[in-house]
């Protein structure tokens, strides 16, 4: 369990990995908006193509990419089915009692499948190629010019960093306590769901108590290291936009232009 990867980050040294996290955040955001702007298959096709380019550049194996879609398969299927039966424009392909399948319905369903899949893969590309620390850092730095919320942004970023830092520690602790309770004869594996949930209480209570103690000690340690919030705090690592980021921004800009043009030139599907 000590080898858990947090936030599904896959370390690497590809051009996508080397991009500035701030730029990645912004471009992913723009990309997601563009997915929703698409009105027909041509525009969506451009989006899918650009995503494939990014995946190939990131050198992340396809197997892992598909893994990110797996958990939402049901949602995708549900959306598709709903669209197929709900939309009754276009030519009828198949009809049984009140169920009617039309060409438009099928097109829309496929459109939705592609759109949601692209959405999920695009956002996973961000977490696959950027460490959680860099993402939090990136968010903090992106929002730091907003003076009125500077302190709250810093606080949230610090909370996220500490949470990420303590996940493995608490996982270890959980295992230790579980073993200790098992040694005392606790039965955690058998019984109904309710029974097993109840059996977890003697594990969770000590876990909570030690977490509070940890928090208390960590607060001391942070104070000893002169922590006093965002005021007057500097950072060791400076984030710099490079040519790479300019190229990436240009790429998304062209893709965006293409999508809008295709939206105008071809008929709208939805």
């Amino acid at each position: 369990m000590s080898n858990i990867t947090i936030g599904q980050f896959f370390p690497g040294n590809s051009v996508i990995h080397r991009m500035d996290p701030r730029m990645k955040l912004v471009l992913t955001f723009i990309y997601i908006i563009l997915i929703f702007v698409c009105k027909n298959f041509f525009a969506l096709g451009v989006m899918v193509l650009s995503l494939i380019v990014v995946i190939l550049l990131s050198k992340i194996p396809m197997k892992i990419i598909f893994k990110s879609v797996k958990p939402i398969m049901i949602i995708i299927a549900f959306t598709a089915v709903l669209n197929i039966f709900y939309i009754d424009d276009g030519d009828i392909l198949f009809q049984w009692a009140f169920l009617k399948v039309t060409t438009t319905g099928v097109y829309t369903a496929i459109f939705m499948i592609v759109r949601i899949t692209a959405l999920v893969i695009a956002s996973s590309m961000l977490t696959y190629t950027t460490s959680p620390t860099l993402i939090t850092d990136g968010i903090e730095r992106l929002l730091s010019p907003l003076k009125f919320m500077k302190n709250s942004v810093h606080t949230i970023a610090m909370m996220m960093t500490i949470a990420l830092r303590f996940i493995p520690t608490l996982v270890d602790e959980f295992e230790k306590i579980t073993n200790a309770q098992k040694a005392r004869g606790a039965d955690l594996e058998t019984g109904t769901l309710v029974e097993r949930a109840k059996a977890l209480i003697p594990v969770l209570v000590p876990l909570f108590i030690t977490s509070f103690r940890r928090a208390y000690e960590l607060a001391f340690a942070m104070e000893c290291r002169c922590y006093h919030g965002a005021e007057g705090r500097t950072r060791m690592k400076i984030m710099k936009y490079t040519k790479l980021d300019a190229v990436a921004a240009l790429f998304i800009f062209i893709v965006g232009g293409g999508v809008i043009a295709l939206n105008i030139f071809f008929e709208h599907l939805i």
């Binding site: 940890r214 001391f220 000893c224 290291r225 006093h228 007057g232 950072r235």
Partner: protein, 283 residues
């Protein structure tokens, strides 16, 4: 000599008792009771005492985490009661705690070491230099990009020490920093502390109940019930075998062996013990 005192306790009293109607009249239970102690530049002091002797409280009083109820704690002449200068005080006196896990803030070693200097508002290049120097000083430079939870206990504690020395304090207080470590980790941390003292000239105050660690110090202070019981060089202090055992402390094993063998020499380390036995046997 007056000027090179970094940390000064002046007849310090401290209690954890809450001040209520009932306790106001009665004498409170002092955790630290009238302690006076000077730490000079480059000192190496070990504070000994069993649980509840007030030694950890003494540590927390040294950098304004706790404020004395009576008396004064001065850091480079600044009283710890001066709230505007708390940050300055903590920069001068760094503190390392028992559990390394609860001191590391960031998810990457070098970012954790940078945490202190970042809080001081230094320039990025300067932080980078301090972080590299600190990691070299504790011998963890090659681990700078590792995640802390993948390190051993001793390595984590060395990272925690690096985090403190990156703030460049004149004095480092170690509050039972080796208590949770395995023998190997303890050895690593002890070697690191030795080199901080010898190579960087840092004043070290180590709070411990391990006698073999105390032997390394230049001065040993024994605490009992919030008061200083003995104070002096390890040789002077460990002579008092009977009193030390009475307050629940041991003497170093070598000292004990030499005493039981009825040797005249004062012995602290295994090497000295061997020499003394050899000398006695030759006679």
């Amino acid at each position: 000599m007056e000027n090179d005192i970094i940390l000064q306790f002046n007849n310090v009293f401290f209690t954890y008792d809450e001040e209520t109607e009932e306790t106001q009249s009665a004498e409170p239970h002092w955790a630290v009771k009238g302690v006076s102690l000077d730490v000079h530049k480059g000192d190496y002091i070990a504070v000994l005492g069993h649980n509840g002797s007030g030694k950890s409280t003494l540590a927390k009083l040294s950098n304004a985490i706790l404020i004395p109820d009576k008396g004064q704690v001065l850091v480079n002449g600044i009283p710890t009661t001066d709230e505007d200068k708390t940050m300055e005080i903590r920069q001068h006196v760094g503190m390392v705690f028992q559990n390394p896990d609860n001191q590391i803030v960031a998810t990457i070693v070098e970012e954790d070491v940078a945490f202190g200097p970042e809080n001081l508002g230094l320039k990025p290049e300067k932080i980078r230099k301090r972080v590299d120097d600190a990691l070299h000083a504790v011998g963890m430079y090659e681990f700078r990009e590792k995640e802390p939870h993948k390190l051993s206990g001793g390595q984590k504690q060395r990272v925690a020490i690096a985090g403190i020395i990156a703030m460049q304090p004149e004095c480092i207080v170690l509050d039972e920093s080796t208590a949770m470590l395995d023998p190997k980790g303890r050895k690593e941390v002890m070697a690191t502390i030795e080199s901080l003292h010898n190579d960087l000239g840092m004043a070290v105050v180590t709070i411990t109940h391990n006698m073999d660690e105390a032997v390394l110090a230049d001065k040993v202070v024994v605490m009992e019930k919030g008061e200083i019981l003995f104070s002096g060089t390890p040789r002077e202090v460990f002579k008092n075998v009977e009193e030390l055992r009475r307050v629940g402390l041991d003497v170093p094993q070598s000292t004990l062996l030499a005493m039981k063998l009825g040797l005249k020499d004062e012995v602290l380390t295994p090497e000295e013990c061997a020499e003394a036995i050899l000398k006695d046997w030759k006679k």
